[in-house]
Symmetry: C2
Subunit: 342 residues, 2 copies
DNA sequence: TTGTAAGCGTTATCAC
DNA sequence: GTGATAACGCTTACAA
């Protein structure tokens, strides 16, 4: 590895002072340093183009400056937006944003956390919903305990089955709003295309819709719940199954926008008119939701903004003493053209 | 900071041996360790749930295990796919994938590189095209020189104005293929919606198209080059300008798929039929390209696969001595329904 | 087969 | 105002 790494010692030699003094200059220490030497040090730093080795600093300070972000699928607009928001806020502040893409695999999620633990991440964001799986819960629980003992800041977006700061996005409420809205528009026969199995978020959205319908004395029939996976392709496949029952259904709710967009596309493709023949609704309000045919009625969850809020919260938690609060986002029904009033 | 961090010493104490021995067990060292002590160490590790501090390891080995990936916009499918591919390959191997989202800002690109330098990243991938900007080139040049002195593995996707391993995606060739294809189909009046200003990739794609047309004794008129920014919205805005000249144009090439998709959407929206009234082509073959109305004819650049190739290349470069080769991807014209034969 | 000690680059403590 | 020294957790000669 014969390395030419420039260290604080090289700077000290050139500036004719001790490493200690250089360190003081670098860190704007309270400890007094004469104008004169400070300038010499600055000059030497510039000349050698020195930047302090953060790894050594990390070892000393027991901080890695790593913020881990665990996402399910970075190609999913939802996660891409959140990551972008977090990154936007964080990366101007000397922190590393370390992404893990887990494809909702228990094994990969666990691997990600153990990697972050080994790297002494300062904070971990569980950006995706929790997996409903015994192994996941158990192993995660014990790792989380240790991470807490190491003072790692832990943040879950949506509930997780271990005691960390879980922010509720209001998944249940979002789905309930859709239920209320559909009923208000005269829909009675409502179908649902589910999210990934084992994902708690799927459960919440499904339950939200169920509860809303029950409240209005209707019911989400089991026969009208179709499998999906939060993807466009999943929505398309669901549409193919759903068309066999179009006559019995007036509206279908996609567990997220990607699903709803897939539904709309395939319904169009099969010659079924949205919303004339069937209405479609989503959740998330992805940027692309307004460009479907017809534009998608959905619940807006401003995820990019959530990302910046998360970034802000993490930064505060990591750099100040007082407990900082994470500002939550507001959801809102975005009425476009994919729902028919009956 | 009162930290409860568990160290190699704690393990040694519990296993009744020296830290050295523990280290040897952890690293599967060649140095012989008796079956018996090895087991005791393993037991202690498990009991304490110890994982070695990678920061300390990094300081010793002068490796950070950080791979920096600089992207322009993680919300752009193109970059999301590449990152996913890289991550997929890398993160199972004890490396950290550190994303920077620069929005093509000179300042942010430079900041990203200097952060990665300070963190002693083992490798940096310049995933987006180079910016055509004097300050960018100059400052980048000097940082790159230092990074090379530090043995950082540097990789540019598409050409960059500093001497690193730049892989050519064949941007020029891709655009030329489109030109050839359009001419073959009888198109003579061809327009182009450009990528971001200052981006070298934009230049390459534009030039590729120009050269192809010249070869066939046609010309890409300056009046027929519209501003764009590689985004759907950019494509939409360009469509609004372009419609004033639809009569003089038979086909329009989007600098990338996002642009082409925006074009198609807004043309439809304005009542202009694709491809009956005007043909549209893109470059990239994003997953969504096959779901536009009509499905988009484009050049396929399998970016996810490029990502895994990059991951493989980096891993090899970082862990073996012999020079490894990066396998490039093959482009291919994907003929769908957005081009009319005249 | 095991262990001791030095050192990676930085900073906090203490002395001058 | 300045600087020697020890320490962060780990690995690696070198000894035993």
């Amino acid at each position: 590895m014969a390395n030419k790494e420039i260290t604080i010692k090289d700077v000290a030699r050139l500036a004719e002072c001790s490493p200690t003094t250089v360190s003081r200059v670098i860190n704007n220490s309270d400890h007094p340093v004469s104008q004169d030497t400070a300038e010499k040090v600055e000059a030497a730093i510039k000349k050698l183009n020195f930047s302090p080795n953060r790894i050594a600093q990390g070892l000393k300070s027991d901080k890695s400056n790593i913020i881990g972000v665990i996402v399910h699928d970075i190609c999913d607009s939802y996660f891409a937006q959140m990551v972008k928001g977090i990154e936007e806020f964080i990366s101007g502040h000397d922190y590393i944003v370390n992404i893990y893409n887990t494809s909702r695999s228990v094994e990969k999620e666990l691997h990600a956390v153990s990697m972050l633990k080994a790297n002494r991440a300062d904070a971990i964001v569980f950006a995706g919903g929790a997996l409903m799986d015994r192994e996941y819960e158990q192993k995660m629980y014990s790792m989380v305990e240790q991470l807490k003992a190491q003072n790692t800041v832990l943040l879950g977006v949506t509930p997780h089955p271990f005691e960390i700061n879980n922010i509720s996005l209001g998944n249940k409420k979002a789905a309930a709003m859709i239920g209320d809205y559909l009923v208000k528009n005269g829909h009675k026969k409502i179908a649902f295309v589910d999210g990934p199995e084992k994902l708690y978020t799927s459960y919440l959205r499904r339950e939200g819709l169920k509860e809303s319908l029950v409240k209005h004395n209707f019911k989400l029939e089991d026969d009208f719940i179709f499998a999906g996976d939060f993807s466009f392709e999943g929505g398309r496949k669901a549409a193919l199954k759903l068309i066999k029952k179009v006559d019995q259904i007036t509206a279908v709710v996609g567990a997220n926008d990607a699903t709803a967009l897939g539904l709309i596309w395939e319904l169009n493709n099969q010659g079924i008119k949205v919303p004339a023949d069937i209405s479609v609704v989503g959740i998330d309000d992805l940027p692309e939701a307004k460009y479907s045919y017809p534009p998608l009625t959905t619940i807006s969850l401003p995820i990019y903004q959530l990302g910046t809020n998360i970034g802000k919260y993490l930064l505060e938690s990591l750099t100040t003493d007082h407990n900082s609060e994470l500002e939550n986002i507001n959801m809102k029904l975005i009425e476009r053209k994919s729902v028919k009033k009956i």
